[in-house]
C-alpha cells in the first residue's frame, strides 16, 4: 500500500487536445477514491496512467517516494479489476484466487490461509472447488474482485466500473460487499464509475471529472452541500440542484427582485453580473404563512415518485424543483417557496463563492 | 531514444518478413523466363545482364513442345471452384443461420450434433472419402465430369462455410432478428434485409476459405478425373518429366497463384475500408 502522487501529470493522444489536463494530486494511503464523470471525461485515462497501461505525455507519478513514471504495469505492484470478469475458465475458484500468489511463490500454507480469508469475505467459501466456467457472471466478477484483493502487498487496487455486468438487483449486495471488503483490507482503492450512487456509497473521497479536468475533489457530503461549480451541482444529486440568476440589491441577494436572504453576510467585491444562486430541491420547501422572504411560484407539474413528490415550479422565468415528502399535500396552482438560507450556494461565473448566506 | 530503437527494430522485422514472403515469387518469376542453362547457372536475377531470358517455360503451358495446354484445365478449375464455392456459400450460410437461430431435433440429435455431423466430414482423411466418392460418381455416370467434381467439392466446402458462418451469426444478437420481425419482416425478410448485410465480412471470409481450399485441392481432382475434366493442379503435374522443367513449373506456379493473389488484394481493400470494424459490437 502506498501514497500515490501525481505531479503535473497530463496526457494527450498524439497532437489532439488534452484528454487529461496537467494537474497535481496526492492520493493518500489506505483511503478509497472514486473517479466520477460521464463517458469521455478522462477518468479511465487517469486510471490507466496510475496503473501504468498509459504513459502520460507529461509529468511524474510517484508511489510513495519511488518515481514510477516509466515503469510498466507489471513493475508497479498494483492490482486491477476490469469491467468484465477476467478469470481462468478452466480452473477452479480456488485456483483462480490462488494464482496471483503462486506467481509470487508464496508458501502453500500461506496461500491457503489467504485464499480462505478472501473467499470468506466474498461469500465464496462454499464454491472454492467449482470450476469457474460453471459460475454466473456475477460470481465470476466476484472472483475477479477476489483476485484483486488477494495480494496484501499491492500498492493500490484499481477498479474500472467493476459492476457493469452485474444485474441491477445484485448490485446492491455487491456494492455492500465491496465497501465492507475495502474498509477491512485498508488498501488504497481507486474506483472508476459514471454512477454517482456507486461513487458516493463506496468512496471516502470523490473526484468529479469533466472534459479532462478534476472539477472537484471532496467527500460525498461536500459535493452535495458545497458543489464547487454549477456543473457539480447538476451532476451530483437527484434531481439536480436548482440554479437561478440572481442580483445584488438593497435587500442583499435577490431573485427576480425578491430578497431571499436579507442581511446575510456576503463576500465583498461581488461582481454585478454572472451571479447565480443554487439550492438543492431538498432545501426548498413550501412556505408557512409566518415565513418572510418567500418567492412567488407557479406550479407547473407534480411527479409522484412514491415516497416523495417532485413539484416543478416556475419562479419568474426560472424553473425549479422541490422535493416534498408524501405527507405534504402538493400545492395547487400558486405557491410560495422558501429557500433555506444556510443551504444557499452563491456562484459567480458558475464557480462557488459562498455556501450559506 | 527508446522509441527510436523500438521503431528501428519494428521495421527491420517487417522488412525481413516481407523479403521472406516475396523472395519465392521473385525466384519463380525469374526462373520462368530461364532455360536449362539459366537455371544451372546459379542464382541470377537480372535478365539480359545475368541470363538470357526465354519464353520456353511460358510456351510449354500453351501447347509448346513437350508441354501441356493449360487453358482448358485452367477454365475447368475456375468453373469447378467458382460454382462449388458459390453453392457451398449459399447453402452453408442458410444452414448456419438455421442452426444458429432455431432448435432442431433429428431423432436424438440436436443442433450441436448436426453441427458436428457437418464438420465430421472434414475429420476423415481424404483417402477414406475417395473410394466412396469414386463409386458414387461412377454409379451416377459423373466420373471425369465437371458436374461430378462440383458435387464432390460442395461436400468438402460446405462444412467450412457452415463453421465460419455459424460463429458469425452467433455473435449477432438475436434481438436484431426479432426487431426486424417486429418491424414487419417475415423470418426470411429479416434474414435477407438485416442479418445478411450485417454478415458480409463473415461471408467474405467463408468464401475466401472455400476458394482457397477448392482451388488448391489436388487429391480429389486427381482421383476422380482422367482427361476431360482435368483441373489445373493435376494438369501441372504432367509437366514433370525425367529432367525437371523448372521454367515451366515456375510459370505454372505463377499462373496458378494469380487468381488467389487477385482475390486477396480485393478482399484486403474491402476489409481495410473499415467495413468489419464497428459493424457488430
Amino acid at each position: 500500500m502506498a501514497r500515490i502522487t501525481l505531479e503535473r501529470v497530463g496526457h494527450r493522444y498524439g497532437h489532439a487536445p488534452y484528454a487529461l489536463e496537467p494537474f497535481d494530486m496526492v492520493l493518500e494511503d489506505g483511503r478509497s477514491y472514486a473517479l466520477l464523470g460521464p463517458s469521455g471525461c478522462g477518468k479511465t485515462t487517469m486510471l490507466n496512467i496510475i496503473s501504468g497501461v498509459v504513459r502520460p505525455s507529461e509529468g511524474r507519478i510517484l508511489l510513495d517516494d519511488r518515481d514510477v513514471t516509466v515503469v510498466p504495469i507489471s513493475g508497479r505492484n498494483v492490482a486491477q479489476v476490469f469491467q468484465f470478469p477476467v478469470i481462468y475458465q478452466s480452473k477452479s475458484v480456488y485456483e483462480n484466487l490462488a494464482f496471483p500468489l503462486r506467481c509470487r511463490r508464496w508458501p502453500i500454507a500461506r496461500i491457503k490461509a489467504r485464499v480462505a480469508e478472501i473467499a470468506d469475505l466474498l461469500d465464496l467459501s462454499g464454491r472454492l472447488g467449482k470450476p469457474a466456467w460453471q459460475l454466473t457472471v456475477d460470481e465470476k466478477q466476484l472472483i475477479s474482485l477476489g483476485r484483486g484483493l488477494v495480494r496484501d502487498d499491492v500498492a493500490a487496487l484499481l477498479m474500472d466500473e467493476p459492476l457493469t455486468v452485474i444485474d441491477p438487483q445484485m448490485k446492491f449486495q455487491l456494492r455492500r460487499k465491496l465497501k465492507a471488503v475495502s474498509q477491512k483490507a485498508r488498501h488504497t482503492v481507486i474506483y472508476v464509475t459514471h454512477d454517482q450512487n456507486e461513487a458516493m456509497t463506496f468512496a471516502d473521497e470523490i473526484l468529479v471529472m469533466s472534459a479532462g479536468k478534476v472539477v472537484q475533489r471532496g467527500t460525498p457530503q461536500e459535493l452535495f452541500e458545497r458543489p464547487r461549480t454549477t456543473y457539480v451541482g447538476y451532476f451530483i444529486g437527484s434531481p439536480s440542484m436548482n440554479v437561478f440568476d440572481a442580483e445584488i440589491g438593497a435587500g442583499g441577494v435577490m431573485i427576480g427582485g425578491t430578497p431571499i436572504a436579507p442581511g446575510g453576510a456576503l463576500p465583498s467585491g461581488l461582481p454585478t453580473s454572472g451571479l447565480r444562486v443554487g439550492i438543492r430541491p431538498e432545501y426548498a420547501s413550501l412556505a408557512q404563512p409566518e415565513d418572510s422572504d418567500t418567492l412567488a411560484a407557479t406550479v407547473v407539474g407534480v411527479q409522484d415518485h412514491g415516497s416523495v413528490r417532485i413539484v416543478e415550479v416556475a419562479i419568474g422565468t426560472a424553473r425549479a424543483r422541490l422535493k416534498l415528502g408524501r405527507d405534504i399535500a402538493p400545492p395547487s396552482a400558486q405557491a410560495r417557496i422558501r429557500l433555506r438560507r444556510d443551504k444557499l450556494c452563491l456562484f459567480v461565473d458558475d464557480h462557488l463563492i459562498a455556501a450559506g448566506i | 531514444m527508446m522509441p527510436k530503437l523500438y521503431g528501428l527494430l519494428k521495421y527491420s522485422v517487417i522488412l525481413l518478413w516481407s523479403a521472406f514472403v516475396v523472395a519465392p515469387f521473385l525466384w519463380a518469376l525469374t526462373t520462368s523466363f530461364k532455360t536449362a542453362n539459366g537455371v544451372t547457372g546459379g542464382p541470377t536475377y537480372i535478365p539480359w545482364l545475368q541470363y538470357e531470358p526465354s519464353l520456353t517455360g511460358w510456351r510449354s503451358l500453351f501447347g509448346g513442345a513437350g508441354g501441356i495446354d493449360i487453358v482448358k484445365p485452367y477454365l475447368n478449375s475456375i468453373v469447378v471452384t467458382g460454382s462449388a464455392s458459390a453453392i457451398s456459400l449459399v447453402l452453408g450460410t442458410l444452414a448456419a443461420y438455421g442452426l444458429s437461430r432455431f432448435d432442431y431435433r433429428v431423432g436424438p440429435a440436436k443442433n450441436a450434433d448436426v453441427l458436428f455431423f457437418f464438420i465430421s466430414q472434414r475429420i476423415m482423411p481424404p483417402i477414406v472419402l475417395a473410394i466412396p466418392f469414386f463409386l458414387m460418381l461412377q454409379f451416377l455416370g459423373l466420373l471425369d465430369s465437371l458436374l461430378g467434381l462440383i458435387l464432390v467439392y460442395i461436400a468438402l466446402l460446405l462444412p467450412i462455410a457452415v463453421w465460419v458462418m455459424i460463429d458469425f451469426f452467433n455473435n449477432i444478437p438475436r434481438q436484431i432478428d426479432e426487431m426486424a420481425m417486429l418491424d414487419g419482416c417475415t423470418p426470411f425478410g429479416a434474414f435477407f434485409r438485416v442479418i445478411l448485410p450485417n454478415s458480409l465480412p463473415g461471408i467474405i471470409v467463408a468464401g475466401l476459405f472455400c476458394i482457397i481450399f477448392g482451388w488448391n485441392d489436388f487429391f480429389f481432382a486427381f482421383t476422380l478425373t482422367f482427361t476431360d475434366a482435368q483441373l489445373l493442379p493435376v494438369a501441372v503435374v504432367a509437366l514433370n518429366s525425367s529432367v525437371t522443367p523448372w521454367w515451366s513449373l515456375s510459370a505454372s506456379a505463377l499462373i496458378s497463384v494469380a487468381p488467389l493473389v487477385l482475390i486477396a488484394f480485393l478482399v484486403e481493400r474491402f476489409l481495410s475500408r473499415g467495413n468489419l470494424a464497428g459493424a457488430i459490437r
Binding site: M200, T201, K323 | I176, M181, G184, R281
Partner: protein, 352 residues
C-alpha cells in the same frame, strides 16, 4: 375493447415465467409493469409481441384472438433493454425501416422518420451509424423507431436500465412528454424502479414470480399494497416488514411494546407483520429503539441507512448526504401512525 390477456401461462425448464396471468391494457394509457428481475415482465412483453407463444391462455385485441398472429403481422413496436438498432443502417434508415416495411413510400417514410428524430432530440445525427452514438443516443434511436410507426401497441422493456444515472433521470422526464402524446396506443413499460413506475404509469401492474399480484393506479398500489410482497416491490428501499403481534391491546415488536394507533385500534389480537416505509423512519436521539449501522448507501440525494436491530434489519431513508461511520448505534424513531398491518400470510389488513 382493449387488449385482454386471459389465463396466460408459460414455463420453461421447470421455471414458471407466466402463471395464469389475466390483465387488461387500455388504449391511450401507459401501464407500468413493476417487478424484480425474473418476475416475468420480459416474458409478458415477449408474449404480447408474439416473440414467445404461451403454453396456454389467450390474447385478445378488441375481442379477437391474436394468439396465432405471427410477430411480423401483429403490428407491435418494442424497445429493448439493450440498445438494439440495425448496425448496417444509418440512424435515419433505422427509423424509416419499419415504415418502409409497412408499405410507406420512401419520401413519406423519410419525412416521418425525420420528424420523429427531431422529437427525440437526434436531428443532427440522421446520417450517423448507431455505433457512432453514445448509449443514450442509441436508445433514443430505438425509441424513435418504435414511436415513428404509430403502432397500436408499444412495449418498452426496462429501456433505461443500461443508462447512467443522470441520463436515466433526464430521459424519464422526456418520456413523460413523449408518451403524453400517445393518445391512441396501448403502452406497456416494464421497470424495477418504483419511482419510475409511479411517475410514468397511469396504471401499475405488480408482478412477482410470474404472477400478477396487484393492479391499480400508482397511488392505490403505493398507499394500499395488497400484500407484503407488493409493499416490498413498490418501495425503494423495500418496505421494512417486521414480524410482531397485537397483545393485550398493544403492539409487540420484539421486546418493545407500543400503544395501538387509531387506525389499528380495531386489530384483533393475533400475529401480524408490520410494515414501515424507509421514509417513515428517522434518526431520533430521543428514541430508545436503536440498532447498529451495517451499511450506508447514498442514492443521489438521499442516504439509506441499513441498521441491524433486535427485531431484524431496518432500512432508513434520510434526505441529504450524511457521513455516519459503520458500527455506530443509530437511534430510530417512527410514528406508529405510519404502520401498515399485514396478516401472517402477507395479505394487507390495514393501511395507514
Amino acid at each position: 375493447m382493449p387488449l385482454h390477456l386471459e389465463n396466460l401461462s408459460l414455463a420453461r425448464n421447470g421455471v414458471r415465467y407466466l402463471d395464469r396471468v389475466d390483465a387488461t391494457f387500455r388504449r391511450g394509457r401507459l401501464t407500468t409493469v413493476i417487478g424484480r428481475t425474473l418476475a416475468g415482465k420480459t416474458t409478458l412483453l415477449r408474449t404480447l409481441a408474439g416473440l414467445q407463444a404461451p403454453d396456454s391462455g389467450d390474447l385478445k385485441l378488441d375481442g379477437v384472438s391474436i394468439a396465432s398472429v405471427p410477430v411480423w403481422k401483429r403490428d407491435v413496436a418494442m424497445v429493448y433493454q439493450q440498445f438494439i438498432n440495425y448496425p448496417h443502417l444509418s440512424v435515419l434508415e433505422n427509423v424509416a425501416f419499419p415504415l418502409l416495411r409497412r408499405g410507406l413510400k420512401a419520401p413519406e417514410a423519410q419525412l416521418r422518420a425525420e420528424a420523429t428524430l427531431a422529437k427525440v432530440g437526434l436531428s443532427g445525427f440522421a446520417a450517423r451509424r448507431p455505433s457512432q452514438l453514445s448509449g443514450g443516443q442509441q436508445q433514443r434511436v430505438a425509441l424513435a423507431r418504435a414511436l415513428a410507426r404509430e403502432a397500436p401497441i408499444l412495449l418498452l422493456d426496462e429501456p433505461l436500465v443500461n443508462l447512467d444515472y443522470k441520463l436515466r433521470e433526464q430521459l424519464r422526464e422526456e418520456f413523460r412528454g413523449l408518451f403524453a402524446e400517445e393518445t391512441k396506443a396501448i403502452v406497456v413499460y416494464t421497470t424495477t424502479e418504483p419511482a419510475e413506475a409511479m411517475m410514468l404509469g397511469d396504471e401499475i401492474v405488480v408482478m412477482h414470480e410470474g404472477r400478477i399480484l396487484q393492479v391499480g393506479t400508482p397511488v392505490d398500489v403505493f398507499e394500499r399494497p395488497a400484500s407484503t410482497a407488493v409493499a416490498e416491490i413498490v418501495n425503494d428501499p423495500p418496505m421494512n416488514i417486521l414480524p410482531g403481534a397485537v397483545v393485550d391491546g398493544r403492539i409487540a415488536l420484539g421486546s418493545y411494546r407500543l400503544a395501538l394507533p387509531a387506525h389499528l385500534s380495531r386489530l384483533a389480537a393475533a400475529d401480524y407483520r408490520f410494515g414501515l416505509r424507509a421514509t417513515d423512519l428517522h434518526v431520533d436521539p430521543a428514541s430508545e429503539i436503536a440498532g447498529s449501522l451495517v451499511f450506508a448507501e447514498i442514492s443521489g440525494s438521499e442516504t439509506f441507512l441499513h441498521v441491524e436491530t433486535a427485531f431484524g434489519p431496518l432500512a432508513l431513508q434520510i434526505e441529504g448526504i450524511h457521513d455516519i461511520a459503520l458500527g455506530t448505534q443509530v437511534p430510530i424513531g417512527f410514528s406508529t401512525e405510519r404502520l401498515f398491518a399485514f396478516a401472517a400470510d402477507g395479505a394487507l389488513v390495514v393501511a395507514p
